[in-house]
């Protein structure tokens, strides 16, 4: 992909090729991000569609990003996922009876993994939206603090503080789930 800033400037001139290149480059990462948080391929795909639809609308209204395109797209996706979390009741960690077991794997191992996945997603969902965003971008997407600060439009110090509080909250939630009262 060419320089992100140059690509963004071409997109702001409504160049079709640039708009498509942006989609092809960033949509896999947005899907992965949504999938990690939502755990549902249909919802994750919807998140990709909605993120890029909002991006196009912003470009048409000349309200799109002037810089930090990647951070901008992740912020849209994050807001969409946050809305989804708000709309539904908190998820209780439980096994999905419709999940098909991999015939080549150990059934109890697969069930244990599914349960662990649901537990960690449930714990993430209970964080504040900003804490969740920091955790996923930092530890799952591997972003630097500076990139996260741009995506969240916050100073680096605030990002570090959020990161610390998020880890504490996550630790407490996971411990509570292991040792219920």
């Amino acid at each position: 992909m060419e320089n992100e800033q140059a690509l963004l400037e071409r997109a702001q001139r409504n160049e079709e090729a640039a708009l498509i290149e942006i989609y092809d480059h960033f949509s896999p990462a947005i899907f992965r991000y949504a999938m990690r948080l939502l755990g549902d391929i249909y919802l994750a795909e919807e998140c990709v569609g909605e993120t890029f639809a909002r991006f196009l609308q912003a470009i048409e209204k000349r309200q799109g990003p002037r810089q930090y395109l990647q951070a901008y797209l992740f912020r849209i996706a994050h807001n969409w996922i946050t809305d989804i979390f708000r709309q539904r009741a908190p998820i209780e960690a439980e096994l999905d009876p419709e999940i098909e077991a991999d015939p080549e794997s150990n059934p109890s191992e697969a069930a244990h993994k599914n349960m662990a996945l649901e537990e960690i997603r449930s714990a993430l969902e209970r964080l504040t939206p900003e804490q969740r965003q920091v955790i996923v971008l930092k530890y799952l997407e591997g972003w630097e603090n500076e990139q996260i600060a741009k995506a969240m439009d916050r100073p680096i110090g605030a990002v570090k503080a959020l990161q610390h509080r998020a880890l504490q909250a996550l630790k407490k939630t996971l411990q509570d789930e292991v040792e219920p009262l």
Binding site: N14, E16, L19, I41, A53, L56, I135, Q163, L170
Partner: protein
């Protein structure tokens, strides 16, 4: 001493997060559908921007006040087309929910359905209801154009999925554009130029989208687009003359002879409710009482009932509903009452 930002317990939590690193692959079919929709939207955005630019160059030479026109077009596009359905649909849904309860969810779910899906007829029904409830001519044109864009997008999606074109879809598209043109024909001169440009931009965008697609295009829909582009030929240069010719049901396109029965001009003049050749065609001056053919009560599209007038352009029929007064033939082509059908 530099403080270690992550303690051992933090590292334990981070290690637990690693289970989320492995994610299933993206479903190729779903991913292709999402991309196809984005690419169509990006193409529409790009071609619309080009059309707007080319129109900017044309209009000053024709004496239009471009700043005013651009502002009106931008307002129309940003407010009505990018958020095409939701505000008024919400009102309809609330009303429906009071009457039918659970049926509302079906109507809402139908909004994203495609022509080959079960809920598509529900979607088109809600479109018809909304169109019938829209009396303001500007909003009516915007709505018709939005629906026409949706029909083109649906045709592109069918083609992308290698599905057969739908004749019903092409007919619905034709109806939408006919509604837009019929409404244009009744607009005041001051609004006419802006809306003519708007309709032309949409038709050219739709034409480009249909002709650029790699798959075999929906020929019936493409023919409708081509015919309507021809109908609007020369309209921007002479909007009032175009309007009078259209209202009179005369052929407005001159490039291709149309293969239908010829109507003698004398016969059309005799039936035309508006005089064409003289300046009296523009009606009496401000404050003067309407005379003869200029009396609104005698023009098509107005109800005689002064207390409860019909919505713009409609007449109340025996069934108690307000109907667009122009007759439509089997193909959906509209013709003013008492006029010979347009070729």
């Amino acid at each position: 001493m530099k403080k270690n930002p992550e303690t051992q317990t933090d590292l334990d939590v981070i290690r637990q997060l690693e289970i989320l690193q492995d994610q299933p692959e993206r479903d190729p079919e779903l991913a292709a559908q999402t991309r196809q929709k984005y690419v169509s939207a990006a193409h529409l955005l790009s071609s619309r921007a080009k059309q707007t630019q080319s129109t900017i160059g044309l209009l000053p030479a024709l004496g239009f006040k471009w700043a005013e026109l651009k502002s009106q077009i931008n307002t129309a596009f940003s407010r009505k087309e990018l958020q095409p359905v939701f505000a008024p649909i919400v009102s309809i849904l609330i009303a429906l929910s009071l009457i039918f309860g659970g049926a509302t969810a079906t109507v809402y779910a139908a909004q994203d359905s495609q022509p080959d899906e079960l809920l598509y007829s529900v979607k088109t029904l809600t479109e018809d209801v909304r169109m019938n409830l829209t009396g303001n001519p500007e909003q009516r044109i915007d709505l018709a154009l939005t629906y026409a864009d949706q029909r083109v997008a649906e045709a592109l999606l069918l083609a992308a999925e290698n599905k057969a074109p739908s004749i019903d879809l092409a007919n619905r598209y034709n109806n939408h554009i006919e509604v837009a043109l019929d409404t244009l024909a009744l607009l005041e001169a001051e609004d006419l130029a802006v809306d003519l440009v708007k309709v032309q931009i949409h038709l050219r965008d739709q034409d480009q989208l249909m002709t650029k697609q790699p798959e075999l295009p929906d020929q019936a829909l493409l023919q409708h687009i081509t015919r309507h582009i021809l109908t609007l030929q020369g309209a921007i240069e002479e909007p009032l003359q175009w309007q009078m010719r259209y209202r009179a049901g005369q052929p407005v396109a001159t490039e291709e002879p149309l293969p239908t029965e010829e109507v003698p001009l004398e016969a059309l003049d005799a039936e035309d409710p508006l005089p064409v050749e003289t300046t009296e065609a523009y009606g009496p001056g401000p404050g003067e009482p309407p005379v003869g053919d200029d009396d609104p009560a005698t023009l098509p599209g107005y109800s005689d009932d002064e207390l409860y007038p019909a919505p713009f352009g409609y007449q109340e029929q025996q069934d108690g509903w307000f109907h667009w007064p122009w007759e439509k033939d089997a193909s959906g082509t509209a013709t003013p009452p008492g006029q010979k059908k347009k070729p």
